[in-house]
Symmetry: C2
Subunit: 387 residues, 2 copies
């Protein structure tokens, strides 16, 4: 089985990009990745498209074909497949792309994630994003992702005596890092007080606890060991990749705040990489809501249950023990569902190439990337870096 390397990465600015279409965004990211890799579009042998909501929002399925067509790759007739695992689509697509390379059938693969979420009027987006939940057993009864995150937070805060400040600190850290990321949706720094006094969304979560509605696209080029050696490319190695599933509906799970899929995928990724948590230089978390930031730190092993609050003051900062979301995370870099997980790889590639300027994690060697579906139905964890 071939090792797999990231050899190029690119993304659009994340944000409310009213004037730009789904396909434009996808193409921009794809071409940037191709250019960054120093290859030609025709060198790409298969395209994995990651997208969650274009069918529902834009009435457009067959996203693989769309991207391939408008990137000018269709003329080469290479296959283009869409991978969907709701908000974990990005991580899942990167994992599938690796399997394709390890199968021996492909040497150069593009993974492109895209989402165009602002094409919907007002609160309708709430119902559309609820498609990542269990439609019949959760969303039908009025549950939304924010509502489920809120009751999870309430129970967690009660059981472990955690206050809202700990949640707010996750967002404060995201905004601080995003202020140094030109691609981020929000570049304003926020204070704990601002976060805690922002508009209530679903108690105890305020606006500043919730990732925004985002348009954006991200793409990476993966290559086999053979290709990298032959062309003397200094790629970033994907050290390990793991995914795990949990029940779709929160009420079926072990407990309301256990993210079993995250725990299992994280453990497996470390095991496959032959690494310890201490080896990880920074982590990109799927903190779609601040509560998940805390829970994920615990499930991934960085803190005991109920104790992520001890990390949020200092340790998660850029120069802390375990920097969290140098990119700005889902809260501040933004959360364009299908592009979010792929965007984590763009950040990791740039960090491990020491190209992140002000937000550079000093001496970064290994990055852990965590992509999660909805409320935790699936998690994909990758460890990238090293030789």
């Amino acid at each position: 089985m071939s090792d797999v390397y990231i050899i190029g990465a690119g993304e659009t600015k994340f944000g409310e990009l009213w004037e730009r279409s789904l396909r434009e965004l996808a193409v921009e990211a794809g071409l940037k990745a191709v250019e960054n890799a120093g290859i030609y579009s025709r060198d790409v042998q298969i395209l994995y498209g990651s997208n969650s909501l274009a069918g529902i929002i834009n009435g457009q399925e067959n996203i693989g074909a769309l991207i391939s067509d408008f990137s000018g790759i269709a003329e080469n007739h290479i296959p283009a497949i869409r991978i969907e695992a709701s908000t974990a689509s990005g991580g899942a697509a990167v994992r599938q792309a690796q399997l394709a390379i390890k199968s021996g059938e492909y040497d150069v693969v593009m993974v492109g994630g895209v989402e165009k979420m602002t094409d919907v009027y007002g609160s309708e987006i709430l119902d559309l994003t609820s498609s990542v939940l269990d439609r019949e057993w959760e969303a039908f009864f009025g549950a939304t992702p924010a509502a489920l995150a809120a009751i999870t937070a309430r129970k967690y805060m009660t059981d472990f005596n955690v206050d809202k400040e700990a949640l707010a600190m996750i967002s404060v850290n995201d905004h601080l890092n995003a202020s140094k990321n030109p691609d981020a949706q929000y570049k304003n720094k926020i204070t704990v007080e601002q976060a805690m006094s922002s508009t209530p969304v679903a108690e105890p979560l305020n606006l500043m606890d919730c990732s925004p509605i985002t348009d954006g696209a991200a793409a990476i080029i993966l290559a086999s060991e053979k290709y990298v050696k032959k062309n003397k490319i200094d790629g970033v190695k994907i050290r390990s990749s793991a995914d795990a599933q949990d029940y779709l509906a929160v009420h079926s799970r072990k407990s309301i705040y256990s993210l079993e899929s995250t725990r299992l995928a994280g453990r497996l990724a470390l095991e496959k990489a032959g690494l310890k948590l201490d080896d990880i230089s920074f982590v990109e978390l799927h903190d779609s809501y601040s509560i998940y930031g805390l829970l994920e730190l615990e499930e991934l092993g960085f803190a005991d249950h109920g104790h992520a609050k001890d990390l949020v003051q200092d340790e998660i900062k850029l120069n802390g023990r375990i920097p969290v979301n140098p990119s700005g995370g889902l809260k501040a870099k933004g959360n364009p569902f299908g592009a979010t997980g792929v965007g984590q790889f763009v950040e990791a590639y740039r960090q491990l190439k020491n190209k992140c300027g002000e937000r550079q994690v000093k001496g970064a060697e290994y990055a852990m990337l965590h992509s999660m579906a909805g409320t935790g139905a699936m998690s994909v964890v990758h460890i990238v870096g090293g030789q």
Copy 2:
């Protein structure tokens, strides 16, 4: 690279299954496949879900998680990924599952396809199924799959002097075969006259030229060579697998009736299999509209351009030179988008195991299975059988 074998297959009845839900259908097919393979659900290591429209029709994304959950597999926490390539999702999912086995990471994989299309009122389905087209450049201007098939048929019939009877014969053959398939949506035989005098849908296509709106699910279990040998399973080998892309919108393609993706994928599948067309015992075509049945026979090499009409009287019949759609095809077995391509594998598995009773293709050795996205944006061709 491991060879890959089909070791079990199952499907629901295809039809207008008003009383059954998306998840029920998926689970029934999955459990039937597991039982047929003689394994336990817990033996499955990864699940590939094939689905096109559940996000749009049922407000449910994350179909992989849904199937995994309700099949009772979620408790094992194995990954579940959705593959989407519109109406080619089935073939695409089976191909991805093979890559997963060839990567060496998995030995037993389930591919489950499902679609629940009757949960929509009246003509709304027309707009929803148009999501497989180019939304902005085709569907927005009023094009539907049927309309595009119709203008394709018109131009083809004119250029090659083909009459409506040739189109009708594709459907007559489908209905005849479906009358012998207990899982088929329509078991009534039709005559050429009935087909040609049925309600006009989009001239020159009548109702009997168009595949129906179908609910249904199909599933297969794939296993590695190692697993098959160790457990002494008499599986059906997947001899080759190939996919190719074309432009998403019909107007961008080489000509209105050239299915370039089908031609390329078919050629590549034969080449990879080391076989000639004469070796193929029967073919399952993606004949969503009768015109595509003719075009596909030509693109796959069974006839020259404009000459598929010479095959439709006798050669495509069950006992003909190249039996087409012993299952009943998309017209009469039915076309539940995400399940259609997987259902072809169910048919092939049963045929090659000599279990098809009245519709058995005598001495069937190799089957060619063709799955196509929309109007031809992508095609996936598999050849199964042999040793």
